[in-house]
């Protein structure tokens, strides 16, 4: 599998990571190499094999749907790079 520059730029955009143009070629080479490496999985017969969802033989626990904790607004916001009046501040999204 070989990825071209345009595909890498598209993936980077999907992942919301800015990649400088001059790095796209090199990155395309590296990613193609990894994808070629993983293609060997095609050799494995996986007919009727269930995809693994959990290594532990257990079903997920359920808990009561009730509030047990909370009230930490300031603690939650304390690590925000930009906050104001109890909110995170984001760049303007509405014209």
């Amino acid at each position: 599998m070989s990825l071209d520059k345009a595909t890498v730029a598209k993936i980077a955009h999907l992942a919301r990571i800015k990649v400088p143009d001059d790095e796209l070629d090199h990155l395309a080479g590296e990613l193609s190499q990894i994808l070629t490496f993983v293609e060997q999985l095609g050799e494995v017969d996986t007919q009727d094999v269930p995809p693994m969802t959990s290594v532990a033989a257990q079903t997920l626990r359920r808990r009561k749907d009730e509030v047990t904790d909370g009230g930490y607004r300031d603690a939650v916001l304390s690590n925000g790079p930009e906050t104001a009046e109890g909110f995170y501040v984001v760049p303007k999204v509405v014209e």
Binding site: I17, E30, L31, I34, V44, P51, A56, N79, Y88
Partner: protein, 493 residues
């Protein structure tokens, strides 16, 4: 009292109980040791004041007869565990300035049992790497590096991703350290630095408060200088936690009590597929030696087959990046860490993440994004999950005829910084023996077994049935005693 930093945890507990020294004295010696080993760049954040305060509190508890199972033992914490009020970086630029408002369950358990925190240790960025060369806070140098300190003739890697943990413990700056293992990140650095590292069964240690890499694989575990110490520390780290949905509600055994030395009649599986092409002669030799030691102790080696071994790495390099790409989506420049402004919200996301993630992390997020994208999900991600099932079935089948599996931990001794760096696949091959058990969720441990022709440590790996850490610890101690490795790193505190 430099002798204090060379004690095992078990001996330190004895000394504390007999009042030969106090937790404060033990901690002071370690705080000094942490300073001494600064040239290794093992610590990202040193917390000497907190350490001494914790030690003082520990002495007070002991005086009241309330000593916990790890009372007064100074340890290092991989900087992937959230620690309240202490910067937690995951060795990434993107977590700059992040100070958790809460404490991870594993570290809470350790403090509950009396352990003392010396600081936060370096790692590969987001635990992605096998050499501790992807950290935003610089490379960790192995204390085994030859030559003059700071002017080494070869700068060896400590392995990764728990490289700071491994270096700190091997260099006698901490009695033990927490590690995390996603594909070998505890076991491989333990092997490279001549210490013990155990990745317990998936579900044993809570993942709550541990910065996530690949959630279906991540497990915390102890890194120590002896098997007995690993048993002591593992017991404190484990335990059911309702805050982690994959935490298993099972009693935690007294792992130390399992160290009976009696392995008579035990069937030790030797997987024929692990004799990989091009395996260095000394790796094959130490493996054969390990088989011989276990035979002499009354165990019975049996050949087993794990036919899908050769597909484990490829499976891992789809599953782990896929999970990473979704876990790391949380770094958005809004809630914590780095923020790089942009003209729009989307620009701000892209600028922040472009500047905040290092090259290896970026590579893995992109691979993960690609294999999860529409049109490729089935061909890559679902296929990998199916192969993962077959790898797990291989182990299920093998454990019908054996009780424990013995393999080498890593395909070589430690390499130098600068080697194996151009080709990501070459670097990934470091984990060829450790990844399969991660994919199957099995407990695994690396034990020092000797040194190679270059004088560097070699480790053997033991894999067990789910939740049977006791057997691998018991067998591990038999190897440790038979090997009786006396070599120590040239640079120690």
């Amino acid at each position: 009292m430099t002798g204090l930093t060379h004690l095992t945890m078990a001996a330190a507990l004895d000394g504390l109980a007999k009042k030969e020294f106090t937790a404060v004295e033990l901690t002071e010696a370690h705080v000094k040791a942490v300073e001494t080993i600064r040239p290794l760049n093992a610590f990202i954040t040193e917390t000497p004041e907190q350490a001494l305060a914790m030690a003082k509190a520990s002495d007070a508890r002991r005086a009241k007869g309330e000593a916990g199972p790890m009372e007064g033992l100074p340890i290092a914490v991989k900087d992937l565990f959230c620690t309240k009020g202490v910067p937690t970086t995951a060795a990434s630029h993107i977590l700059d300035g992040f100070k958790p408002e809460y404490e991870s369950t594993v570290t809470s358990n350790l403090w509950r049992d009396g352990a003392v925190m010396l600081g936060k240790v370096n790692l590969d960025e987001f635990a992605m790497g096998s050499a501790n060369i992807t950290s935003h806070h610089g490379n960790v140098i192995s204390p085994w590096s030859p030559g003059e300190v700071g002017n080494w003739s070869r700068q060896l890697v400590p392995g990764g991703s728990s490289g700071g943990s491994a270096a700190a413990v091997a260099a006698r700056a901490a009695l033990g350290a927490t590690g995390t293992d996603t594909g070998g990140s505890i076991r491989q650095p333990a092997a490279f630095t001549g210490i013990v590292g155990i990745k317990p069964t998936y579900g044993r240690c809570s993942r709550w408060g541990v910065v996530a890499f690949a959630s279906s694989l991540d497990q915390a575990g102890p890194m120590t200088r002896t098997v007995e110490d690993a048993a002591i520390m593992l017991r404190s780290m484990c335990g059911f936690d309702p805050k982690d949905s994959t935490s298993v509600d099972m009693a935690v055994p007294d792992f130390r009590a399992a160290l009976t030395g009696d392995i008579r009649g035990l069937k030790v599986g030797i997987p024929k597929e692990y004799r990989v092409e091009g395996m260095p002669a000394e790796i094959a030799a130490i493996w054969d030696q390990g088989i011989e030691w276990l035979k002499q102790a009354g165990a019975e080696p049996v050949e087993i087959s794990l036919p899908h071994t050769k597909y484990a790495l490829a499976t891992y390099y789809i599953v782990a990046p896929a999970e990473a790409s979704s876990n790391l989506a949380r770094y958005d420049g809004l809630r914590y860490g780095l923020r790089v402004e942009g003209a729009s919200l989307k620009d701000m996301y892209e600028n922040t993440r472009g500047a905040g993630f290092g090259k290896e992390v970026r590579r893995r997020i992109l691979i993960g994004t690609y294999v999860l994208s529409a049109g490729y999900y089935d061909a890559y991600y679902n296929k990998a999950r199916q192969v993962r099932t077959r790898i797990k079935w291989d182990f299920d089948e093998a454990f019908k005829t054996c009780d424990v599996i013995l393999t080498p931990t890593a395909p070589s001794t430690a390499f130098a910084i600068g080697e194996k760096m151009d080709d990501p696949i070459q670097m990934y091959l470091n984990d060829v023996f450790t990844v399969p058990a991660s994919l199957a969720g099995l407990p695994g441990m690396s034990v020092p077994a000797g040194v190679g022709s270059d004088g560097l440590p070699l480790g053997l790996q033991l894999l067990g049935r789910p939740f049977d850490e006791e057997t691998i610890l018991r067998v591990g101690q038999v190897i440790e005693k038979a090997a009786a490795v006396t070599a120590t790193p040239p640079f120690m505190a």
